[in-house]
């Protein structure tokens, strides 16, 4: 589905991603690593917010390395960014409607997509008319994910969905993610490795802009390096 072949990314002279390659199929993939490892940079490169200096990004057999962000969104990659992910001045319903309004293949299926999203996050239906900015952090995160799902994407990218949420909501969120991967491919970056390993199939560990480790979720749980550096046992 998504294939990244040897990309290099820079911020000015700072070399952030070094000859990085990875693949996502019909599965949920986790991307782990400490702050500054390049997780968000990698996501930004995928959706073309920054352009890689070298390498290719292939989505569904099509080279999207130099495509513009909005056309990539139309091709089926939806993003839930790290923070400020909503339109606070719009209502919950408007936020969701917007998620589908500019994506050609769902533009006329808003009702059907709404039902799908409300099924996933019933709380959003209850708060349909509320302004997005007035909801709690957890609800806002759900709305951001709901808005991304409105586009009926092939690949959903979540950048640190657990950030700033209380632990009970984090586990609820990852339960939803585990359910979501039955429908679509998911790429999730996380610092909360313990929780996210429960819902992904495979994981990459990113350190200093390079893939340090790649394995199935089961194997990562028992990998000594992961246990020492990320699970803190």
């Amino acid at each position: 589905m998504l294939e990244i072949n040897g990309i290099d990314c820079y911020y000015g002279k700072l070399h952030v991603l070094r000859n990085l390659s990875f693949k996502i199929g019909d599965e949920a993939v986790g991307l782990f690593g400490p702050n500054g490892a390049g997780k968000t940079t990698l996501i930004n490169a995928i959706i073309s917010l920054i352009k890689p200096a070298a390498g290719d990004i292939i989505f569904d057999g099509e080279n999207i390395t130099t495509s513009e962000t909005h056309t990539i969104a139309k091709k089926g990659i939806a993003l839930v960014p790290q923070e400020r992910e909503l339109f606070p001045e719009m209502t919950v319903y408007e936020n969701l409607e917007l998620g589908a309004a500019f994506i050609p293949h769902v533009k006329n299926r808003t009702a059907e997509r709404l039902e799908f999203v409300y099924n996933f996050f019933p709380v959003l239906k209850e708060r349909e008319k509320q302004h997005a900015g007035t909801m709690s952090g957890g609800q806002q995160r759900m709305l951001a994910i709901g808005r991304a799902l409105m586009a009926d994407p092939k690949l959903l990218i979540l950048d640190e969905p657990s950030l700033g949420l209380q632990p009970s909501i984090v586990s609820e969120l990852f339960e939803k993610l585990a359910e979501m991967k039955k429908h679509i491919s998911v790429l999730v970056t996380e610092q909360n490795v313990r929780e996210s390993l429960k819902s992904v199939d495979r994981g990459y560990v990113l350190e200093n802009g390079e893939i340090a480790l790649e394995d199935t979720a089961e194997n990562l749980k028992s990998n000594p390096h992961v246990i020492k550096a990320y699970l803190g046992i």
């Binding site: 962000t69 939806a78 909503l86 606070p88």
Partner: protein, 309 residues
């Protein structure tokens, strides 16, 4: 039920607006024409502001429209009505070209560039005497509709209604989503599939066409243009003050603000000549300090509070 009353109210106001020349005197009609011209500028300024882009180009585009309309008539022999449409088209093209050049930068860079459009065209017009009439300006041989005040009033009213209808369309269709999304968060807007650049250029060009047509209508109803009066800074400051007073990011706010401030200004002019400008300044400061939401925003939050509590 509330919706039902809303439509009746709109119909009554519309009727009062259309029949205005039959129950108001010549002086009131001339004030109404000025207020409606400012209404077009205030609404079109707000329409672009909804995308987070601050424009100071109203005076420039108004002046470009004024001159385009007068020169189309004088040099090419276009009819007055056609010259007003031509003024809109010229402003549209100028704004589209400028937008393509600078709207990738946005925000501050865009605001400053729009301020420059007026200056550039004003200087060209001042110095190209053989074509534009130079510093003295140009006078039309005849005023539109042979100076018939009722028809002139309806022409201005028609343009104001066009601006209102466009503004409502901008609020009711997915353009609303695009503009609000761009204002709130560009990254999420892009990753929701919104072509930010395309929307900004189109909206800038459309609102500029309205401002250009306002200039065209003004020039045709007053019969003259000069570099100083057609590019006056009044056309930047007053619409902004009016929209801020009424409340930005909506159609109703600029309408209320323009009517209140426009009528107030005329009244003040009689008692303290030029003092109305001081009043404008004080109003802008007070609004920014005490009610940045404007009148519409304050009333709306009162209503919401009453419904909740």
């Amino acid at each position: 039920m509330i919706k039902y009353w809303k439509y009746i109210l709109i119909a009554i106001i519309l009727l009062l607006g259309v029949l205005f020349p039959f129950y108001a005197g010549a002086y009131q009609q001339s004030i109404a024409r000025t207020v409606l011209i400012y209404l077009v500028l205030a609404i079109s300024w707000d329409m672009l502001l909804r995308s987070g882009q601050l424009s100071f180009g109203m005076a420039g585009l108004f002046g470009i429209g004024s001159y385009a309309s007068v020169l189309l008539l004088l040099r090419l022999g276009a009819s007055p009505m056609l010259s007003i449409l031509g003024a809109g088209l010229v402003a549209f093209v100028v704004a589209a070209l400028l937008g393509i050049l600078v709207l990738r930068l946005r925000a501050m860079y865009f605001a400053i560039t729009t301020l420059a459009i007026g200056e550039i065209f004003r200087i060209i017009i001042r110095n190209w005497s053989s074509f534009t009439g130079g510093p003295e300006g140009a006078i039309l041989p005849n005023i539109i509709f042979d100076g018939d005040p009722v028809l002139s009033y309806w022409l201005v009213l028609g343009l104001a209604l066009l601006a209102i209808v466009l503004s409502v369309i901008f609020q009711k269709t997915r353009i609303y989503f695009a503009l609000t999304a761009i204002r709130n968060n560009e990254v999420v807007a892009k990753s929701s599939g919104i072509n930010i650049f395309k929307y900004l250029v189109i909206v800038f060009a459309i609102t500029s066409a309205l401002q250009g047509m306002a200039g065209g209508v003004f020039a045709q109803t007053y019969g003259f243009v000069t570099p100083e009066s057609s590019f006056s800074a009044d056309y930047i400051l007053l619409p902004i003050a009016m929209a801020l007073l009424g409340g930005i990011y909506g159609t109703l706010g600029p309408i209320i603000g323009t009517v209140l401030l426009g009528v107030l200004a005329e009244y003040l002019k009689l008692y303290i000549p030029y003092g109305h400008l001081i009043v404008y300044g004080i109003i802008i400061i007070c609004i920014i300090m005490f009610m940045p939401q404007g009148i519409v925003g304050v009333v709306r939050s009162k209503i919401i509070r009453r419904e909740v509590g």
